[in-house]
């Protein structure tokens, strides 16, 4: 098993997951069921989170297959560019879902605008993601290309390549990569922002989760919950700057064991953010309350998860092979 295998495992999550989330959302709207709406938003957040490793493992899969016979580099590039668009839309939808969940936790109500905005955004995301999946499939399954039986597979690939050469698309992964690497000021600026995002996340996560561990007992959890959007902002900032690094220099991350560990721990940290945002356990920790054990465990895993993300991020050049 290698990271190309991980890509095969995860690459259906964005399309199938987004479709399930949309179905749940429609069902919840028809039944006017608030609990089901919450589930749909939670599923969307988790799908968006898993889309990050789905994208990143694709970078590794490319490295595995690009030198093989019958693999068109241009089709990989087209798939990659479509994947960037999908990733951007999916993360927007995920951020929107997170914000909806955070707001619902405080107000116990779902606004109509929030519901229909997510529905629209997720439908668009699904369409773009489905196209990405299709382009990905064509890389190794050229049989789905030849449509009318008269053209050979080679001719079909040539036709696709010609179309791609004349129009590389509006969002182009290689173009973004060159934009980052060709300007000397972008990488250092993105690094500075990545570190500001890092302390914004970690500081807010510490305040919130130290309370869940039992420190500052006179603080009601619902009051510190209001700070969570600042952690989410840091998360968003670091997703954008982090993806800039990967798109610009994919080879530093394609088979970097530290990066694999970092993204694995990021999934734990992301899930713990969902837990603190909307689950019942933390929310009912009032002023003077001692948190129950499972809430304390969640608080500890949030802090350790983010610390681990930082550790393996720092180890990219040392345990891993970046730079």
């Amino acid at each position: 098993m290698n990271l190309a295998h991980v890509h095969l495992l995860l690459n259906h999550v964005p399309t199938v997951g987004a479709a399930i989330a949309i179905a749940l959302l429609i069902l919840a709207l028809i039944r006017k069921n608030d609990e089901l709406k919450r589930v749909a938003f939670e599923v969307f957040f988790v799908v968006a989170l898993l889309t990050i490793p789905a994208y990143l493992s694709g970078v590794s899969a490319e490295k595995q297959i690009k030198d093989r016979d019958g693999v068109s580099l241009m089709m990989i590039a087209a798939h990659e560019s479509a994947a960037v668009t999908s990733l951007v839309l999916m993360q927007l939808a995920g951020a929107f879902a997170w914000f909806g969940l955070w707001k619902f936790r405080r107000t116990a109500r779902w606004g109509r605008t929030t519901m229909y905005a997510l529905l629209l955004l997720s439908a668009l995301t699904l369409a773009v993601t489905a196209r990405t999946a299709n382009l990905g499939g064509e890389i190794r399954h050229p049989e789905i290309l030849a449509t009318d039986g008269t053209t050979s597979t080679e001719e079909a690939i040539a036709a696709v390549e010609q179309a791609l050469a004349s129009d590389p698309g509006w969002i182009n992964a290689r173009g973004i990569g060159r934009w980052v690497t060709d300007r000397t000021w972008i990488w250092p600026s993105a690094e500075a922002l990545h570190f500001i995002g890092l302390w914004l996340i970690f500081g807010v996560i510490l305040v919130v989760n130290l309370r869940l561990l039992g420190f500052m007992p006179s603080l009601p959890f619902s009051a510190v919950h209001r700070l969570l959007p600042w952690a989410a902002l840091g998360f968003a900032l670091n997703t954008v700057t982090g993806m800039m690094f990967v798109i610009a220099t994919p080879d530093q991350y394609a088979d970097n064991i530290s990066f694999f560990a970092k993204i694995g721990l990021l999934m734990i940290a992301g899930l713990s953010l969902l837990y603190t945002t909307v689950f019942e356990g933390p929310w009912h920790v009032g002023a003077g309350d001692r948190p129950p054990l499972r809430v304390k465990l969640a608080g500890a895993s949030a802090i350790l998860g983010w610390a681990g993300v930082m550790y393996f991020g720092r180890m990219l050049p040392f345990i891993g092979n970046a730079f």
Binding site: P188, E191, F195, I196, W199, L219, R226, A307
Partner: protein, 158 residues
């Protein structure tokens, strides 16, 4: 400069920069990062509260975060000193390094002022935010942003 050359040739300096041990340069760099995340991040949380976000959070219990912030600062300062000793000749010739030190000093003075003027008396005076607290919160955020940015630029600007 002789002293700096001697320092750079010292056993400790060579161990940090050349041993290749994971406990050397990589671990010290990580400690520098997690210390920064603790001291700057907790400061940011407190500052955002003073600026009016999360208004229902009482100030007195937040004052208990100060020991954690000082611990974060101590870890960052100690690891930063080790990183400096490992490479004193280059670092001390970089203007951006002094810019960073200036902002760190301002941020730390600002942190102590937040304690004495806002958080120390919060317990005896619940609900009231001291005058000038918002200004101190804004300057604190600015100093940590500037310190982080200039610190990061040490690796790129010579």
């Amino acid at each position: 400069m002789d002293f700096l050359q001697t320092l750079q040739q010292s056993g400790f300096s060579k161990w940090v920069s050349e041993s290749g041990s994971l406990l050397g340069y990589p671990t010290i760099l990580f400690l520098h990062t997690i210390g920064l995340a603790t001291v700057a991040g907790l400061n940011a949380g407190l500052n955002l509260r003073l600026l009016g976000f999360a208004p229902a959070v009482p100030l007195a219990p937040l004052g208990r975060l100060f020991p954690a912030m000082w611990l974060g600062f101590a870890v960052t300062a100690a690891s930063g000193l080790a990183l400096l000793v490992a490479d004193p000749v280059t670092k001390l010739s970089q203007a951006i390094f002094y810019v960073k030190l200036l902002f760190v000093a301002l941020a730390v003075v600002n942190m102590q002022m937040l304690w004495t003027r806002v958080f120390r008396d919060a317990a005896s005076n619940p609900g009231a935010v001291a005058p000038g607290a918002r200004t101190l919160a804004l300057t604190s955020l600015f100093f940590w942003l500037a310190a982080t940015t200039s610190g990061r630029l040490i690796a790129y600007v010579y």
